[in-house]
């Protein structure tokens, strides 16, 4: 294999990691509060705002029901507004973040809703404010599940990132399509697939291990 190809693969791996990292970072920063809010704002809950909850929930569902490749194209004006351009690796992080945020929000909502309501009641009985309940009870108790959810989101983002080649984003997916498929270089395709498998495996096993370490429920006397 030529040094040129190796350089391309390393570069593409770097692009993929960068895009996924930025999208996951921003997606978590936005998705965490959104997820917590979705999990605590139905009728009778801590931050009860059923109307806002319904609107945000519908928005999240709308985003999530749009296939990623359609989303990428559909939000090009928004991408241009944020990134200044709609083409390239950096611009591609915008649709990735837009797709990641509602996904992460739903995963976090699910994790938070799994927390025993008895703990919320106990915290209320101590005089905790709703924010204290979120910070000291809901998020720490849901953390093992949140970590598993974020792991799932990272794996999904690795998959999504392969599609941004369509708008000139770089990365492993783009490399695989342009070289492996369009230029009939099956060895490149094989390497791209192998690198993606290694990345997914790594992310999954690190996430699993971290979640298990955080989970204190599994200990026994």
């Amino acid at each position: 294999m030529s040094p040129e190809l190796i350089r391309l693969i390393v570069e593409a791996t770097g692009d993929t990691l960068l895009m996924v990292a930025i999208a996951a970072g921003l997606g978590t920063a936005l998705g965490l509060p959104l997820g917590v809010f979705l999990a605590t704002s139905k009728k009778g809950e801590l931050f009860a705002a059923p109307a806002v909850n319904a609107v945000l929930g519908a928005l999240v569902n709308a985003t999530r029901s749009t296939p990623f490749i359609i989303l990428v194209v559909a939000i090009i004006p928004f991408t241009r507004l944020i990134a200044g351009t709609s083409i390239g690796t950096f611009a591609a992080t915008v649709p990735l973040t837009v797709a990641a945020t509602p996904f992460i929000a739903r995963l976090i909502e699910g994790a938070i809703r799994e927390v025993d309501q008895g703990l919320v009641e106990a915290a209320r009985s101590m005089g905790a404010t709703p924010l204290q309940i979120v910070r000291k009870v809901l998020v720490p108790e849901a953390l093992p599940a949140i970590v598993l959810g974020l792991t799932l989101a990272l794996v999904s983002l690795l998959g999504f990132s392969a599609m941004v080649g369509a708008v000139g984003g770089g990365g492993l997916g783009d490399l695989g399509i342009r070289y492996g498929y369009q230029r009939f270089m099956p060895d490149v395709m094989a390497i791209v697939v192998a690198v993606l498998i290694v990345l997914v495996q790594t992310v999954q096993s690190v996430g699993d291990r971290l979640s298990r370490r955080l989970n204190k429920r599994l200990r026994h006397a």
Partner: protein
């Protein structure tokens, strides 16, 4: 010099009969109705509750599930809001307190739960520290306070453990330490021993009694288990269908239940059933040579008198004990005995007369040949 009487209301209440006037919690005609959901009828959980919790006492509310006791206890720390009536805590009307006002109040009220509700992500130490963190207590003070409480509940060696590593009884001890962290005046116990085995239950009840006696903390507990009431409660209220159907000093209520619900609760611990081997042989019509089967109830002072030997001496018959249960409520003995006496109808009158002279309550169960 006597301390000046601060409140006029206090003096008026002191003149009223009934429970001690220094009520730390007072329910006045408190009702709670949940609004209708979908097309269903509104649900009345509580209907006009009047209840006084004297300062420094242990008061138990007993009822079956759905009787309204969970709602009742949650009214005391504002986890539920009354829809009618008033609730006074230390003389202050808290019925219309805002959520912020309640948060302040809750820091002066501890609560423990049936399923402990400990945070699985926190160690024993950090669980007990939680209410102090919430109240914004500085770290150094938290350290001292939590250490002291863990020693009090006997868990000093478990401070770095996680709840999953503890037994049920240990978890409830953590719950108690946590509830006491902010040095509350009132401790609310929500079925605190219902998930524990009998032996652990006794140990936890002993700890609660110690907390009450040594720290002077008033305890309001709810339970469906009469042994809990019998073991530690000074006063008991029986709740049924959202109403308090009977209330009073534990010994009084248990030995002289007036309401059928109370009677059935009491029966479960102090009643003596006719043993199976005898049940089939008992008949209501006396035949010649039969023995009468009597159930004798003991209460208080007379439970310590040598009844059986006196009975034999007074009426000159042999008394055969078939079954019995003598127990104590608070520090007063209480119980019942099932005996057979060789007596036909005319002699029975003498036996009942003798029992009456000994101030014992007796009932005729039947005759056995």
């Amino acid at each position: 010099m006597n301390a000046p009487v601060k409140s006029g209301a206090f003096r008026v209440e002191a003149l009223l009969p009934g429970p001690p006037a220094d009520a730390i919690i007072r329910f006045e005609g408190v009702g709670k109705t949940y609004p209708s959901r979908d097309s269903q009828e509104p649900v009345t959980a509580l209907a006009g509750i009047d209840l006084v919790v004297p300062r420094g006492s242990i008061v138990g509310v007993i009822g079956r599930s759905g009787a309204g006791k969970s709602t009742l206890i949650r009214l005391v720390n504002g986890l539920e809001r009354a829809t009618s009536g008033r609730i006074l805590i230390e003389g202050e009307d808290v019925t219309n307190l805002t959520e912020a006002g309640w948060r302040e109040r809750r820091r002066a009220t501890g609560m423990i739960f049936q399923h402990f509700n400990l945070l699985s992500s926190r160690t024993v130490f950090d669980n007990v520290a939680l209410p102090l963190e919430i109240a914004g207590v500085p770290k150094a003070k938290i350290e001292a306070q939590v250490s002291r409480l863990l020693a009090l509940v006997g868990l000093a060696d478990k401070r770095e453990r996680y709840p999953a590593e503890l037994s049920g009884g240990q978890k409830q001890r953590v719950g108690i330490a946590r509830a006491l962290a902010t040095e509350p005046k009132v401790l609310l116990c929500d079925e605190a021993t219902s998930a524990l085995d009998p032996e652990t239950t006794r140990a936890i009840l002993a700890l609660l009694k110690q907390v009450n006696r040594e720290l002077g903390i008033t305890i309001l507990l709810i339970t469906h288990e009469i042994p809990v009431i019998k073991e530690i409660c000074d006063r008991v209220a029986v709740i049924e269908g959202g109403n308090i159907v009977e209330e009073g000093e534990t010994f009084e209520v248990m030995t002289r239940p007036r309401h059928p619900t109370t009677a059935s609760f009491v029966e479960a611990v102090t009643g003596v059933e006719v043993p199976d081997y005898l049940a089939g042989r008992i008949h209501q019509q006396a035949l010649a040579g039969d023995s009468a089967v009597l159930r004798i109830a003991f209460t208080g002072e007379n439970a310590t008198t040598p009844v059986i030997s006196r009975l034999s001496a007074v009426i000159g018959v042999d008394v055969n004990i078939l079954a019995g249960r003598i127990d104590a409520i608070g520090e007063k003995p209480f119980g019942s005995l099932l005996v057979s006496v060789p007596a036909s109808e005319p002699e029975l009158a003498a036996v009942f007369g003798a029992l009456k002279s000994l101030d014992l309550k007796a009932e005729l169960v039947g005759h056995v040949s």
